[in-house]
Amino acid sequence: MTTTSLPVAGHKPPVGAPSSPPARRRRRSWAGWGFVGPFMAVFALVFLAPIAYSIYLSLFRTQMVGGTRFVGLENYGRAFSDPQFWEALGRVALFLVVQVPIMLGIALLVALALDSGRLYGKAFFRISIFLPYAVPAVVATLMWGFMYGTRFGLVGNINDAFGISLPNPLSPDLVLASIGNIVTWEFVGYNMLIFYSALRVIPTSLYEAAELDGAGQWRVITAIKLPAIRGALVIATIFSIIGSFQLFNEPSILQALAPNAITTYFTPNLYAYSLSFSGQQYNYSATVAIIMGVVTMIVAYVVQLRGMRKEA
């Protein structure tokens, strides 16, 4: 045992000394830290310190009158009974269950179509569907915001041209759907690329075998392609869940155009932002951020467990 582990560390036990297990373990751990140390330092600084600081912040309360004091878990108690926070969480949850399946469905359809080899001008479609992902979210939202305008925007132009009256996409009832439309437009290409690249690595021998067995295209998709890219599907789903819970850019920019439809607590992230930057409530804002982080982790983990279980 000594001979297998010590050469790696570059040490030899003192001759004649009884190589007692505790002493050996201590020497070994020092050497290991030498290698792990630089990584751990960066990891602690970049990943752990901000989280620790947020947790630290969330245990205090700063008031304009009265200053800062330690309040323990009071902020967490407040968040759990805060209707604005739950409304925001409910909204992104709704967004998640409606928008993510639509977006991934379209992305999968496009990826399968591209992969089928029956599409003329494949490269052109691939690049043009991916292109929106290259447009910064801020620009995309501004662009869609102008199109949604009922007076001078595209919607307004359509209304004028056909003498109809389309519902206002920026009204309180429709604004979430309008945001879903923007996000779908932005991310279909990205998810398509994940699926497409997973499809490309499926060995062609499988297709040949299927052909010999007389399987049709539909059978090939359900029996070969989808099982083969399950890992990619799970990954794309998890990314989309995280993206939904972190929804911020689109509502934040559209807020200027539809201030009454998008409240300052429209999504949990927007709520944390408003609390911190206009409300000076850094402590409560940190609390909201931490709760959202935990919720996201739980949901993503559950999805991953389910996805992996199917694979097994």
Partner: protein, 443 residues
């Protein structure tokens, strides 16, 4: 890179060049408490550098003039954002205790927040309290709180009716002098041309509080940390009832101020008037150039025929943060810009002054504006400045309260909620926040 950043780079290089001597002198002249006017004079003679956070473009020339008149003095104007963005940055700098500017531009509505948290220097010791009477009553009220003078006004926003004369004439509509006439005019205008609205509104905290102010409502009462918030008083209700008609009958364009649609509407006449602060004069001239000759200015519509009551909408001041390390020199610049020769420079560049002397000067009131068809616009605006109703106070957390205005009152613009209910929801949310922040709040 913006010209401003480039400018401050150059200034930084200049400081480095003047070397340690300047730094030592700067250190000597720094003080934590307010100094005296004499201290300021010697600080100017010694020279040094101050940083000014402001987005008012006219201050650039003022700073240049000040530097020229006082060799050895450097004034860095830094645009740290407009309005709320700058307050956030300032709040953060004050909390961190570093990077705090020597002078900061703060709008009247945000001043109580900074004054209350003792983030600003009381300017009384420099003799600012003797400037009572130099400024018009509205702005002076805004910068004095308790027994301190926390800032000096740079500009003011006495309200007036800016209207598109071409559109009004075209439809044969008389310029309204009361709010009842205003509602009538709104109906007539919209009936004559369904694409035209008398004004736009999607819920604007500044506009709402200013009109309530004019209507005699005093929803906010502040005494130190004791705050009263009550939107049920008569003046507030008078505004809510009148404006509710405008919303119910769809007489206001659903366009948000400062948006592209808004500027287009102002240019093509589909938004035919604005009841807004006097600073809109300069904004129309520069941002809605194509409508030159269309617009005119009339006194603010009144709640009772024959009255002459106005209120303020917007307006800024310059303050010295308590953490500034060069307060004496900061005061010298602040005084120059707000009460000294700087005023003339800023007025020449289009600012609307807050000082009585400038507002009453003939060459100011008698100036004819080509954009407004040769009208002596300043005469109307200066008249408004003299008639601002007294006794208005903003909350010590008005910045936050305004940020949640659309969450609450905004509902009245997009759903069946009434303005009265919306204002009451705003009151509740403000009370909750006030209590959270440790104020004693009553309703």
């Amino acid at each position: 890179m913006s010209p401003i950043t480039r400018r401050s780079r150059r200034a930084t290089a200049a400081i480095a060049a003047t070397g340690a001597l300047a730094l030592v002198l700067t250190a000597c002249s720094s003080g934590s408490g307010g100094g005296s006017a004499d201290d300021a004079e010697s600080a100017v003679e010694e020279g040094g550098t101050i940083t000014v956070w402001a987005w008012d473009p006219t201050l650039e020339s003022v700073a240049a003039d000040f530097e020229e008149a006082n060799p050895g003095v450097e004034v860095d104007i830094v645009n740290a954002g407009t309005g709320n963005d700058q307050y956030t940055a300032l709040q953060n700098a004050i909390a961190a205790g570093s990077g705090v500017p020597d002078v900061a531009q703060i709008e009247f509505y945000a001043l109580p927040q900074f004054a209350l948290s003792e983030a600003l220097t009381d300017l009384s010791s420099y003799g600012a309290d003797e400037l009572d009477g130099t400024f018009t009553p509205g702005p002076w009220d805004a910068v004095t709180q308790g027994d301190g003078v926390w800032a000096l006004p740079t500009d003011s926003g006495p309200m007036a009716l800016f209207y598109n004369k071409r559109v009004f004439d075209e439809h044969g509509i008389a310029v309204p002098t009361t709010w009842d006439e205003y509602v009538e005019a709104a109906r007539a205008l919209h009936a004559a041309d369904p694409g035209t609205y008398i004004t736009n509104d999607t819920g604007d905290a500044g506009f709402t509080t200013s009109i309530i102010w004019q209507s005699g409502g005093r929803p906010y009462q502040v005494d130190g940390t004791d705050v009263t918030i009550d939107f049920s008083d008569e003046g507030t209700q008078r505004f809510a009832t009148t404006w509710q008609q405008m919303l119910d009958e769809d007489l206001v364009a659903p366009v948000t101020s400062w948006s592209d649609e808004w500027y287009q509407g102002l240019a093509d006449g589909s938004i035919a008037s604005l009841v807004i602060g006097a600073w809109m004069r300069g904004n129309l001239e520069t941002s809605v150039e194509s409508a030159s000759g269309d617009w005119a200015v009339a006194p603010m519509p009144q709640w009772e025929a024959g009255e002459q009551v106005t209120s303020e909408n917007g307006g800024s001041s310059l303050a010295i943060p308590a953490a500034s390390e060069n307060q004496d020199l900061a005061w010298a610049f602040l005084e120059y810009a707000t009460a000294g020769d700087g005023i003339a420079t800023r007025v020449a560049e289009g600012a609307f002054p807050a000082t009585v002397a400038e507002l009453e000067a003939d060459d100011f009131t008698q100036q004819e504006f080509e954009y407004f068809g040769g009208q002596k616009v300043n005469e109307v605006l200066a008249e408004s400045a003299a008639n601002v109703a007294e006794g208005w106070t903003y909350l010590p957390f008005q910045v936050y309260a305004n940020s949640i205005f659309n969450d609450t009152v905004g509902k009245a613009y997009v759903s069946g909620t009434t303005l009265t209910d919306g204002l009451s929801a705003w009151q509740d949310a403000s009370v909750t926040y006030g209590k959270d922040q440790g104020f004693t709040v009553s309703e």
